[in-house]
Every structure is written in C-alpha cells, then in structure tokens.
C-alpha cells in the first residue's frame, strides 16, 4: 500500500511476498514494514510507574525473561496502554533480529531498509479501535489472528491454526480466559472481524453476544509509535540515505557540469555563427571596399597635383603667416615630393623657436610634420635656423 503523491489517494497492491514488494520500491523510498504476529512476542506488562526513561530498561528485563535470546539479538519497543500514579500497563513487543533479517532479506538485498518496523496487528488496532478494548480477528496468510487491543495498543495476541467456525468456537473461549488471567476484561465493547472472514461472523456473534463489525483494508493505516527497527538497520538506513544524498548531489553536479559544457559549446557555436555571418557581409562588400581603397590610394598619390595645400605658393603663404615678426626672414626654400626645407635667420634663437612653434600650430600646414634643429648663432647674435618637413 503506497500513498500517491501524498494527496490522500492510496495505491494498493496485493502481493504474494516481499520479493514483489521489493520490486515496487524505489531506492531511498520511505516505507513501513508491518510484521505478522508470528514474528513477534507481544506482552502485556504491569509495571510500577517510574521515570519514563526507566521504562525501556524495565521492559527489556521483562522481555529477557520470556525470550530465549540474548538482549543483543532482540529489538524491543513498548507503548503505554494506561497509567496511574502507582502502576502502568505496558504493551511490550519484541522481535528476534536474525529472524527479522531473514524475513526481510528480499528487501535488504535490494538496499531497501524500512523507516519503521511495526506489527500489522498494532496498525489495525490503532486504525479501527483507537479507544477502549477491542477484539480483532483477521487472517495473516493461512492463519487466523485474534488480537486484543486496549486504547489502540496490542495487549494479547493468539494465532489460530484453523479457520473453521468449530475450531474458532473452541479457541476463542481460551483466548478470553487468557485475557482474564492477564487482567484484561473479556467483555469487549468492540469486536472487529476482517471482511474476508465473513463466514465466521455468526460464530463470533454467538460467543460474544454482539454482532462483530466488519473491517476492511486500512487506507490509510493509523500511525503507530511502536518501532522495532534494529539498531543495525537504523545505521544502515542512515548510511543509505547519506549515500542517496551524495548520489543526488553527484547527479546535480554532473548535470551542472553537463550544462556548463553545453553552454560553452553553444557559446563557441554562436561565436562561429557570428564569424560566419560577418565573413559573408565582409565578402559581399569586399569589391566596393577594394574600389574605395584603390581610389583612395590613387587620390593620395595625386595629392600634390590636386590639393592646393601641397602647392609651394600655399606652403610659402602659410610659412610667411607664421613668422613672429618682420625681422625673422626666410632665406631659402626647397620643396620636393618627399620633403620641404626652410632656411632662415632670426634676430634671436627664441624668435626662431617661436617661428617653429607657430608653424606647428598652423592648421593649414598640418599636412606636413615640421622639425627644427638647433639654431646656429651667428657672430651678430642672429640665429640661423633650418626647418625640415615631411608629408604626414
């Protein structure tokens, strides 16, 4: 029986054995294993009311007396049926770990460890008779189980070999007698019979003078505190859960790694697409650009003929404009295709430098890069200078 998406709907499968159940379980899935009565020892104990922390030890000692195994081989748990100031009535249940492991081997071999191991009869009792005393009769495999519950906790169980009414008529009085001997009132306010045992309804009614209530499969079964999960299983389960967490983390890491790779490839692919697109556009316009470059080169080569700024008269005009004053004179001017050379004389070196600076600042002479060497000082303290320029 499995809850579907925890939305109140239950998926119910009739399974022959735990092998089939193991096949239905997913790795790391939480599930509760309900044990049959023949796997456990259920006892009703009356113990003095003490500190609740002392109950486990007291229960263990009591179970030791009844179970022919050492305490290490047994897992026990208990539930308090009723409690007064002086004493407490306890429902104690124990299971032999080795038998439990044998029974659950199909699950364990596939790495499925239950989150809780409880008793099926306790689940049924908690579901159908949460308050008061009740007698519950239901089948477990080929056997018939009669279980007495008090406040939803198991207090006495019997496995009946036969399922015939005659046999039941003999066995049930013995059960009630045993109950009385253990201090359980055998006048049951509630008698519950599994719906698959409809044929026994009249027999039960004749024995208890009340018509048994038919009960079906619990959907969902009530939660039970009783947990017989062995310590070793708990540790294995923690390990399994941890391993599952790590597997999950590794899966996420792998997915992230894969996504990073995919994104990287997509990035490279996108860049290549863009390169291809640019290549097409460059190729499409290449002829026009080649034409422009060729015309530009021709234009540049013909510049001395076309652009007046290269004409000697223009250059001379702008040189004269740049003279700081009339005392600075140009004495020689040479111009060729490669360079311009200007020689002159200034009353002082400072004026020569000023002339050079004016030339550099002159926007109409920006087609040339002028450089002036150190002026030569003449005997009359005049400065003889030479400027050289090359087209930029």
């Amino acid at each position: 029986m499995r809850s579907i998406s925890r939305n109140g709907v239950w998926d119910v499968h009739a399974l022959e054995n735990l092998e089939e159940a193991a096949n239905l379980l997913n790795s790391g899935e939480e599930f509760v294993l309900g044990l049959p009565i023949n796997m456990v020892l259920a006892q009703r104990l009356r113990l003095p009311t003490v500190d609740p922390q002392d109950f486990p030890e007291m229960v263990r000692i009591q179970v030791e007396k009844s179970f022919p195994y050492s305490p290490d081989e047994v897992t026990t748990d208990y539930e308090i049926i009723e409690q007064t100031e002086s004493d407490s009535v306890i429902s104690a249940v124990a299971v032999h770990n080795e038998r439990l492991s044998e029974m659950a081997a199909p699950l364990l071999l596939r790495g499925h460890i239950p989150s809780q191991v409880t008793v099926y009869a306790a689940q049924r009792a908690a579901t159908h008779a949460a308050e008061g005393r009740a007698l519950l009769i239901y089948p477990e495999g080929e056997k018939l189980i009669s279980a007495i519950s008090e406040n939803g906790k198991l207090s006495l169980t019997r496995t009946l070999d036969a399922r015939e009414p005659e046999q039941l008529q003999r066995d049930l009085p013995q059960l009630t007698l045993s109950a009385e001997l253990q201090g359980i009132n055998s006048l049951f306010p509630s008698v519950l019979l599994d719906e698959t045992c409809l044929s026994l309804r009249d027999t039960v009614e004749s024995l208890f003078a009340q018509r048994p209530e038919l009960v079906g499969l619990e959907m969902p079964p009530a939660p039970v505190k009783l947990n017989l999960l062995p310590e070793q299983w708990k540790q294995q389960r923690v390990q399994l859960l941890r391993r599952a967490e790590w597997r999950q983390r590794l899966l996420w890491a792998g997915a992230a790694y894969g996504a990073a790779l995919v994104l990287f490839f997509a990035y490279v692919f996108a860049i290549r697409l863009m390169v291809g697109s640019l290549d097409k556009r460059v190729a499409r316009d290449a002829s026009e650009v080649a034409f422009i470059k060729e015309t530009e080169a021709t234009w540049k080569a013909l510049a001395p003929a076309i652009y007046p700024r290269y004409y000697p008269v223009e250059v001379l005009l702008h040189l004269l404009e740049s003279l700081p004053n009339q005392n600075v004179r140009i004495t020689a001017y040479k111009q060729s295709a490669r360079q311009i050379q200007v020689e002159g004389e200034a009353p002082s070196a400072a004026l020569a430098y000023e002339f050079a600076e004016n030339i550099k600042k002159n926007r109409d002479l920006r087609a040339f890069a002028f450089e002036m060497g150190s002026p030569r000082i003449l005997p009359n303290d005049h400065a003889q200078f030479r400027l050289e320029a090359k087209p930029k």
């Binding site: 460059v282 290449a286 650009v289 015309t295 003929a305």
Partner: protein, 182 residues
C-alpha cells in the same frame, strides 16, 4: 549499489583507487577545458578580427559615394597624354605664365618623367631670377587642381648680390592619366 570489486578492497586500496580516479578525472578535465578554452579563444579572436574588419568596411562604405565621385572626377579631369609633345607644351605654358609676370626664364629643359600606376608625367625645368611678388604670382598661376601640374622640385634662394631678388630652380611636371591597357 556499491560494486563488489570496491567492497573487496581494504581502506588503503580504496583511498588509492579514489586518489587515482580523482587525478585521472582532473587531468581529463584539464585537457577538456583547456581544449574548450583554446577553441573559444580562437573563435573569439576570429570574431574580433572580423568585427574590426567589418567596422573598417562600414567606415569605407559610408564614404563610397564620395570616392565614386572622386573616381569620376579623376576620369573626367586628369589629362590624357599625347606623347612626348606634352613636355614642350608644358614648357610653352610655363613660358607663357612667366612672361605674363615678366619673369625671365633661364636654362629651360624638358623631359619624360616617371610612369606610375596613378600617372605618367612630363616635366620642364627652368630657373628664374625675379623679385618676390611676380614669383608668387607665377607660382599661383601655374597650379590649379584641374591642371594636374606639380612642382616636383622647388629651390628658392635670396640672391646674394641683391636681397630683393629671388633665384629659383623649378622642376615642373604635368601628371597625365596612366596609359590604359598596360
């Protein structure tokens, strides 16, 4: 589930196996990512180069009309050579301009200049001796954009005997359109 071969190992063997697997994993990753980053780097460099080339193209293409007009202007305006006679025609033109400004020409010479992919030229060499103002007018009148006349060499110097006189040596060339079909 943990594989059986792993379960059979002792603690030291497991540590060793995990270490080796880790190192192999790291090396493989190093190789993969190195290749990937190399690939991405090349792609990025190629993209940058193409983008720069395209940006340059766009700048050129914006000026396409200008350059097409300039090409048309050159085809229409640049004179076509008629042969060696162009040199004497150029000298005549120089003489005409010089006489207009009363400039005396000395040592005239003509010749064929360089032939390049953009022009073929003829030249006329002359020497002058004149005052500054007529020289300026001579220089001004000789050149205009449509004339394709270039002063390939200019050498001006103040006359040592008379500071008001300029002595000039000029190599004046006319740049004709390059011969087609060659």
């Amino acid at each position: 589930m943990i594989p059986a071969w792993y379960l059979r190992m002792n603690q030291r063997e497991r540590l060793l196996a995990v270490s080796v697997a880790g190192i192999v994993f790291l090396l493989i990753n190093l190789w993969i990512w190195s290749a990937l980053f190399g690939m991405a780097g090349k792609a990025h460099a190629a993209f940058s180069a193409r983008r720069t080339a395209r940006a340059e193209q766009i700048i050129y293409l914006k000026e396409y009309k200008t350059w097409a007009n300039r090409e048309k202007w050159l085809e229409k305006t640049q004179p076509v050579s008629k042969g060696e006679v162009d040199a004497s025609t150029l000298l005549d033109q120089v003489k005409q301009v010089a006489s207009k400004h009363a400039i005396l020409l000395e040592n005239p010479a003509i010749g064929l200049g360089d032939a390049t992919s953009t022009h073929q030229s003829v030249f006329a060499s002359v020497e002058t001796k004149c005052a500054w103002p007529p020289l300026v007018h001579f220089l001004y009148d000789m050149q205009r954009p449509e004339a394709f006349i270039v002063f390939e060499n200019v050498n001006l110097i103040i006359d040592s005997s008379d500071p008001t006189i300029m002595r000039g040596k000029f190599k004046i060339a006319k740049w004709f359109a390059p011969s087609r079909g060659k």
